[in-house]
Amino acid sequence: MAHAPIRISGDMTIYRAGEIKDLIFDAMAREQNIEANLDEVTRIDCAGVQLLAVAHAEAERRDKSFRVVGVSQAVSDMIGLLNLEHLIDGPLIMDPVQGASHG
């Protein structure tokens, strides 16, 4: 089955949280497999992180898949800071154990 790509660019913060939420979950309503490319995200805050976490949980709940296929430096930094590497698995996966001990 085809992967439905979505791309989020620019701010992934509380100011655009509603908009991004709709983007992700509308896609999830339609498609089975979602690939989110975040490599153009310039800023991300906890609201953005929450959305990623919920997207993962929701996909699992509905037996679908949600993958992050690309991350920008900002996303990678934030994920590293909050020790949430499991949210951006895929090609950029980091060993959570390693992350934990250095986090």
Binding site: T13, I14, A17, G18, I20, K21, F25, M28, D45, C46, A47, V49, Q50, L51, A53, V54, A55, A57, E58, R61, M78, L81, L82, N83, L84, H86, P96, V97, A100, S101, G103
Partner: protein, 729 residues
């Protein structure tokens, strides 16, 4: 270095003692958590102290031990019987290492270890169920409220309020700020609060963090990072494990006596002013009157043990005594030297009084009288210094009872009463072996098997009771069991078999019971590893007698047996009765004196006196001590009683009661028979203290020998020979 080691040895032993007691009470199910913390602290202190004096082997071993305890504290390891056994064995191992260290302080190094290897492996197996790394990984899966223990890390637990992000605060920014100020060792983001996509309010904050922080100086430093969101989040800051002990120390050391609990906690830096204020307002709001300490613990502001310490500090302040903090460690030889000096002082003061009287100067007599009164008080308080409670000794038996009972496959509880009873330290020290024997005997012979007990309609668990109380200048120590009681017919049978009594003799039960104190007497048909080898009660009796004490046994069939040891309060001083032969004075312990009578030559037959129709063996002190002068016209007999036997000693004059300080005989006179010590009288003369036990035994033997051989000759010089036998045992 040596002194440090000595201090370490002593402290380690104290903590090991506490460690063991803690484990035993833990096993009995007493106040689990608190006890566990106490046990942990003991181990922790030993570890720290060992580290401080560079005893790496002990430090390493204790560290492994500590990890198991920590696992128990966090609930991941149970306090099962096996675990406790292993911990006890580990305690023994540390004790052995300490012993080894004491024996050879030079070898204070690696050589101490070795045997501990298997113990250590078993300990690691217990604590190390999860590898340290995967434990952290597991923290991601179930992070809520599971603080990862990381030595010197502060633990910060924060859950953000719904509107935090709407107010323009990004929680991640706080983390970044913290990371800039201090070192974040580990952080777990709590996402469990997130709802499903439908319910998700994208602007609302659902997150929380569990953070292990390094490098914070005090709590307020961490707290201020959260200042902006203070009212919007639940924040808990737990001090590092290592600091908890420090806090407790700090609280103990606080000089203020009557502070509020909250103030105590604030001044020790355990909580911040803000936390206290919030706690207090909560307390007010709830109106339930819950103690502030409880509220603070519920809030996670402090750990319970710190509050305990603070409460204890408060209690101690209230209790004016301040006992714990005012204890003073004094080498016992200094104390002995002091008591010796006080003894000299008593004597010197008596002599001063004597001369004052002779001088006839009223003022001098009066001055001396007040000096004498003060000296008496000084003596009493000096002797008081040597007094220790018997409780420490009793408590040690917890372990003995537990181990011994398990060896013989019985369930036995130890009941301790009168632990506060005080007696002289030297008496306590010498009591330990006889008590040990009695306790083991009670476990092995006294208490029945579980089956037997159930058949006899008794509780399946037996009880051994240790009791101590003061009784008219003596201390009575009882070892009581609720077992089957002494088998009176069997004891009699055995005694007849061994020729101790005649088959025809009619003996009361208690007379029969006393027979178990005869040398080599054992009714047990079974020799176990514990007792029943036929040595025992006589040894117990001898050691108690050597302390100028007595042993009594009472027993009810099916109800149990009770051994009562009656001991003088102190060995250093006796109430004596002064007698004299020619110019020499002798002191007889007053407790042994039954009566004094004038010697009626018409009633004496050699070494036997007829006293009111009964035969009383007598000893002429003049002959025994080879005083060469001729006896005076009138002589006196002091009737003595010891160990259930009576004898009289014939002396020239009775001089009356005399309280005196005993001075032990020097090594040169160690083999002297009939004398147990000496004392110096007011006039500077030496008086010898008569060894009543020995004399009575000698007199009785004389009588016995005479009966056996049937001749009526006086025994004169054979007496000392027999006394040598009895004294040499």
């Amino acid at each position: 270095m040596d002194e440090l080691i000595a201090v370490f040895i002593q402290e380690a032993r104290e903590h090991l003692e506490a460690f063991e007691q803690g484990l035993l009470s833990l096993q009995r199910g007493e106040s689990g958590d608190e006890m566990l913390n106490a046990i942990f602290r003991s181990a922790h202190t030993i570890k720290g102290a060992a580290g401080a004096v560079e005893l790496r082997a002990i430090e390493r071993f204790t560290h492994v031990l500590e990890e198991v305890l920590d696992a128990m504290r966090s609930g991941s390891t149970d306090a099962s019987a096996e675990t406790v056994d292993l911990l006890l064995a580990s305690g023994d191992h540390i004790a052995a290492m300490v012993d080894q260290l004491e024996a050879n302080p030079q070898a204070a190094g690696e050589a101490l270890d070795d045997d501990g290897e298997s113990l250590r492996e078993r300990l690691s197996a217990l604590s190390g169920k999860t590898e340290p790394l995967s434990a952290e990984a597991a923290g991601v899966a179930e992070p809520v409220g599971a603080p990862t223990d990381m030595g010197g890390c502060w633990h910060v637990s924060v859950r953000f309020g719904a509107d935090v992000m709407r107010q323009g605060i990004d929680p991640a920014a706080l983390v970044r700020y913290l990371g800039g100020q201090m070192n974040i060792r580990h952080l777990t983001t709590i996402t469990e609060g997130l709802p499903t996509a439908e319910d998700l309010d994208p602007e609302r904050c659902y997150l929380g963090f569990e953070i292990d922080l390094e490098g914070a100086q005090h709590k307020a430093q961490i707290e201020q990072a959260f200042d902006f969101v203070r009212d919007e989040c639940e924040l808990r800051i737990l001090p590092p494990e290592s600091l908890i002990d420090d806090y407790i120390e700090l609280i103990r050391a606080l000089p203020e006596d009557d502070m509020y609990l909250g103030e105590i906690l604030v001044s020790a830096g355990v909580i911040t002013r803000a936390e206290l204020a919030r706690g207090l307002s909560l307390q007010e709001a709830s109106g339930s009157g819950a103690p502030i300490g409880e509220i603070l613990v519920d809030n996670g502001a402090v750990t319970p043990e710190v509050v305990h310490a603070a409460v204890a500090h408060q209690a101690r302040a209230a209790d004016h005594a301040h006992r714990e903090s005012r204890l003073l460690r004094v080498p016992s030889d200094r104390l002995d030297a002091l008591i010796d000096l006080v003894g000299e002082l008593v004597i010197a003061s008596a002599s001063a009084q004597l001369f004052a009287h002779e001088s006839g100067s009223g003022a001098l007599v009066e001055a001396n009288a007040s000096v004498a009164r003060l000296v008496e008080e000084v003596r009493d308080s000096a002797l008081q210094l040597r007094m220790v409670t018997i409780g420490e000794t009793f408590k040690r038996f917890g372990r003995v009872v537990r181990d011994t009972a398990r060896d013989v496959g019985k369930t036995i509880e130890l009941d301790i009463k009168g632990a506060d009873t005080e007696l002289d330290k030297s008496v306590v020290e010498r009591l330990s072996d006889p008590l040990m024997h009695l306790v083991r005997n009670a476990i092995d012979h006294g208490i029945e098997n579980t089956d037997e007990r159930i058949a006899a309609n008794k509780r399946s668990a037996g009880t051994v009771t240790l009791n101590a109380y003061h009784d008219s200048g003596n201390v009575v120590i009882e070892v009581r069991d609720n077992g089957r009681g002494l088998n009176t017919p069997r004891i009699q049978e055995k005694a007849i078999e061994r020729g101790l009594v005649n088959a025809e003799q009619t003996l009361s039960d208690s007379e029969i019971h006393q027979l178990i104190f005869e040398p080599g007497f054992s009714t047990s048909s079974q020799v176990t590893s514990l007792s029943g080898r036929g040595v025992g009660m006589d040894v117990v009796k001898r050691s108690i007698v050597a302390l100028r004490g007595t042993v009594d046994v009472s027993s009810e069939p099916g109800q149990g047996t009770c051994f009562a040891l009656r001991l003088p309060l102190t060995l250093a001083i006796i109430d004596g009765f002064l007698v004299s032969v020619d110019a020499s004075c002798y002191v007889v312990p007053l407790d042994n004196v039954v009566e004094c009578i004038e010697l009626d030559a018409g009633q004496t037959y050699g070494n036997v006196l007829r006293l009111r129709g009964e035969v009383l063996p007598i000893i002429h002190l003049r002959e025994l001590f080879e005083v060469r002068s001729a006896p005076p016209r009138r002589q006196n007999v002091v009737v003595l009683q010891a160990a259930g036997m009576r004898a009289g000693i014939v002396v020239d004059a009775l001089r009356g009661e005399f309280q005196t300080v005993i001075k032990p005989l020097g090594q040169l006179f160690r083999h002297l028979r009939g004398i147990s010590g000496s004392t110096i009288m007011g006039n500077g003369e030496v008086a010898l203290i008569v060894d009543v036990q020995n004399l009575v035994a000698v007199a009785a033997n004389q009588c016995h020998a005479r009966h056996d051989t049937g001749h009526r000759k006086t025994l004169g010089h054979s007496a000392p020979e027999q006394s040598r036998e009895s004294a040499g045992v």
